[in-house]
Symmetry: C3
Subunit: 392 residues, 3 copies
């Protein structure tokens, strides 16, 4: 078991490990604590990461790989993901290699070292796992699924950038009591005793996914007024507020800039900076009404209260309160307003009636239902539009 004494030696060590035959950098890796099934202890119900690494910290990765090998494990780098139990030998091997950094591993520095250091002599070491994702392939383990959800929610990976296939198959449906997951089967087996002894747990939710706030500490200027409203795997940009009325942000969906969210951002939907999702507004998701086309909403766009948005929108748009703009909605645009809209949407064809899907990605459009005729129209909104420079 190799001990490293200086930072220079450490760099050299990492270089050597990375040059070894078959070595492959992981996309993501980290050490997690798992919750195991109360009835079936082979079931992993949840994985909690104190720290994740995503396309970063390759020196630590080399240390973890080498320490695993020194503790007797073999690593098949051709796998898309791997999960290892943490052993005392692994911990010892890791810390010997990090010798020159241990003194400074505190606060924001060297968080992976802090994690390993805290694992020394723990009686519950069997609950800790080292997880690698080498390839962004369909998911095979609960631990790797959580690693990807963390990457999304900690904004280390972009929304829609990861392969989440298999997540619903891998994750178990459990009863959540605070941060603690319970197997439903275990509850059933013990219902009589738990109820008679007044120890039945207080269940907050039954779901395969945990909530965002069970795992992620938001930025100082993010507000989430009800934790049930944001699923783990969602992304919230700084400045985002999630109100508790009718809002919901699913996994692999969220905001990329400051925004006020009082409505639903369904799976795979993305909302840009300065946009406002009004009370009860719905952005349809890939599984509900968009024919699988994920919806992006640009910057500075407003979805009015109880509106429904079934098409992607660019910057500076408005859908009036209560109005639904779907792929098949026929929208009339007057000649005069079309001219104004073409100034910022040069590709717009010259006609009077558009289907919603033909306006996908439009900038600066205000959608309204004429309250005298019932006709749905679009016209140039008065909201500021930041023109996409690539278009001009």
């Amino acid at each position: 078991m190799k001990t490293i004494y200086t930072k220079e030696e450490f760099s050299q060590f990492v270089d050597e490990v990375e040059r070894e035959q078959g070595y492959r950098r992981a996309i993501g890796f980290g050490i997690c604590r798992v919750d195991l099934g109360q009835k079936n202890p082979n079931k992993v119900l949840q994985a909690t990461y104190p720290v994740i690494n995503w396309k970063e910290n390759y020196g630590t990765l080399a240390v973890f790989v080498k320490a695993l090998q020194e503790s007797g494990a073999s690593i098949d780098f051709s796998q898309s993901e791997l999960v290892y139990s943490i052993t005392p030998t692994f911990i010892e091997a890791v810390l010997k290699k990090f010798t020159p950094f241990i003194a400074e591993a505190k606060g924001d520095k060297h968080k992976n070292i802090q994690v390993v250091d805290k694992l020394k002599n723990r009686p519950d070491l069997h609950l800790f796992r080292l997880v690698f994702i080498f390839e962004d392939a369909p998911l095979k383990s609960v631990e790797a699924t959580y690693l990807k959800l963390y990457a999304l929610s900690q904004r280390k990976a972009d929304l829609r950038s990861l392969n989440l296939d298999g997540a619903f198959g891998v994750l178990h449906n459990v009863a959540w009591s605070g941060n603690k997951p319970y197997e439903l089967d275990w509850l059933r087996d013990n219902e009589i005793e738990l109820k008679i002894f007044n120890m039945y747990p207080n269940i907050d939710a039954v779901d395969k996914f945990p909530r965002f706030l069970q795992h992620v500490i938001p930025d100082d200027n993010i507000r989430i007024l009800d934790s049930s409203k944001v699923r783990m795997g969602a992304r919230l940009a700084p400045g985002t507020t999630i109100m508790p009325g009718a809002s919901y942000i699913n996994f692999n969906a969220g905001t990329t800039g400051a925004s006020m969210v009082e409505g639903r951002i369904s799976s795979s939907a993305i909302v840009g900076d300065g946009s406002d999702i009004g009370g009860g507004a719905s952005i349809l998701g890939v599984l509900s009404g968009t024919n699988g086309n994920p919806i992006s909403i640009g910057k500075n766009t407003l979805l009015g209260a109880n509106s429904v948005c079934g098409i992607p929108l660019g910057d500076g748009c408005i859908i009036d309160a209560g109005l639904a703009i779907l792929e098949g909605t026929k929208i009339t645009i007057s000649e005069e307003e079309l001219a104004k809209l073409r100034e910022i949407n040069p590709d717009l064809p010259n006609k009077r009636v558009f289907k919603g899907r033909e306006l996908a990605g439009i900038n600066g459009a205000h959608f309204r239902q004429n309250s005298e005729t019932g006709q749905i129209v679009a016209f140039r909104s008065k909201r500021e539009v930041k023109l996409n420079q690539e278009l001009h």
Copy 2:
């Protein structure tokens, strides 16, 4: 106090009891643990049943009746419901009769015996009650009210099949902290002390009803992403998912097949297999806008996001996102589309404009607002409709 030694003897015993003068089978019965008022210990705030019996387990019922009588209680079978305190004598008498079954009473077998067995020697026996419902009449006790709510939520009784009159009068409005109910009066009396000593409870809700997940363990393939969204007394079929955005399922309402629920299923409303209640969609309840007519939604029907449904619908219907179809809404159907709709709705009269209530129960109708004219129309939906065989 009679002891029974063999299963044959047990059958004979049950026959004898059932033939006794005045004996009457209960519709439902069970033993519950009650939470009593902190200020007024005569108030029952909640009743928790480890096991309920609903039109079943009449042998156990005979044992309970006889054991009660042997412990000195008299039973007036003409009452609609009865509540008895559990005594050590009752427990002893019950277990003596169940002698031939006690060894096998574990896991899923003989759950009532498990309950009674666990009550032996308990110091808090005064909190346990034996409850009978002999007749489905207006409710008189908290314990019987919970028994009916359990019957609905455990799918032992059909939605709308039980008399729930009196429930609001019988149940107390309490502050729920997790599974524990507090009397509001007690909180008021102790507010100063609780706040100064930093012991003020964390209140999740103030309501007469508890939440579904406080009492019922859902099937493995049911998901409830926020426990506040389903009231005790609701029914959820296997495969049902309740999202946390704007959804709500009231008591005596719910689903009878797998369905995705992101909207509101108001009191007495029922949703069929394969149907989808979109984000923010509202099904009106008997107390809100349906003139007391409860709404059923058939199979494979879709209520779009933020739609409102004020009439019963059959199978394979669609209400477009954002659209409200109420009893008084005028809906135009073209001659051609009416012909298609009459193929699967033979009773539909031949006319052009229908009030919503005239289309109650229609199959295969797609409701839309024409976005050029504002006219609300219905036409044959492309969703699969499973024809009701009784109609043809």
Copy 3:
């Protein structure tokens, strides 16, 4: 340190204090327990009041002022608000002045004395503060902000009657775990340890404001089915029910009479007695679509499911389910219906088409979209309207 022995002496003492040079009655005052930052103990994260005084209990105020002075503090009555630490000397001085009342200070009587009495010999006395608001000016302290929120939520001050400027600047954004606030920074600093030791707190919300039910005990006939739905600073009149679907009541908003709320009452919006805010209905707030004009809804008015209300409404109105009435919505009224509406709205001009804002405050109007023409119309509703006597 002056001791007072009789009630007569007490009255004389209060008179003397109130006549002292520079003395000024506080609008509100009270003693609170504070939660301090885990990382920065100079940050006040929350203030919990066992009792508040609002334009009342001036005798107690005089005692508190004099006891503060006797314990060495000086009071600058020209400040809009002041916050003092509680000291053993202050407690002693207060109780000496309240001697003739101490024996009867229990239950509902002399709650301020009960508070001070319970503070004797407490080891955590540094967490208690005496707070005065002398002038309804922009807020400067967390303690005074909570005092105003209590005044609103305990219905001691009217909605919109208080200056809440500065509240968002003064309050810290914290993670709430039950009633306990955590600094986000502290969670970040301790994330590794908390997660490895399985002590990560269960976070219910991240917000500057707590929830109503963390601080206020509602009347017996108020129901709040989900605590996340009502922010501290909201007002709920007796008889109000808040359903858990899509509802939300923001601070400085609420109900002034019994009402059923299944929708959103945004900041500064007020709903009158007997009104019904249907499932998913939105009343726009001062920050969202009303150009800063706060919306009041009168008595006996119904907002249908998923409707949107962007204008003030009087008594006995109906907005149909799914309909949005905004300031700019054009609403057509027939000559016949206008005549009926003018009977109870004499100032209504004689024309056919109104903008929504021109109908602000209207009584007895039923808003509907004609489902054959798409035209939005108003007509005389059949709901009872209690005429405003001042108009006639």
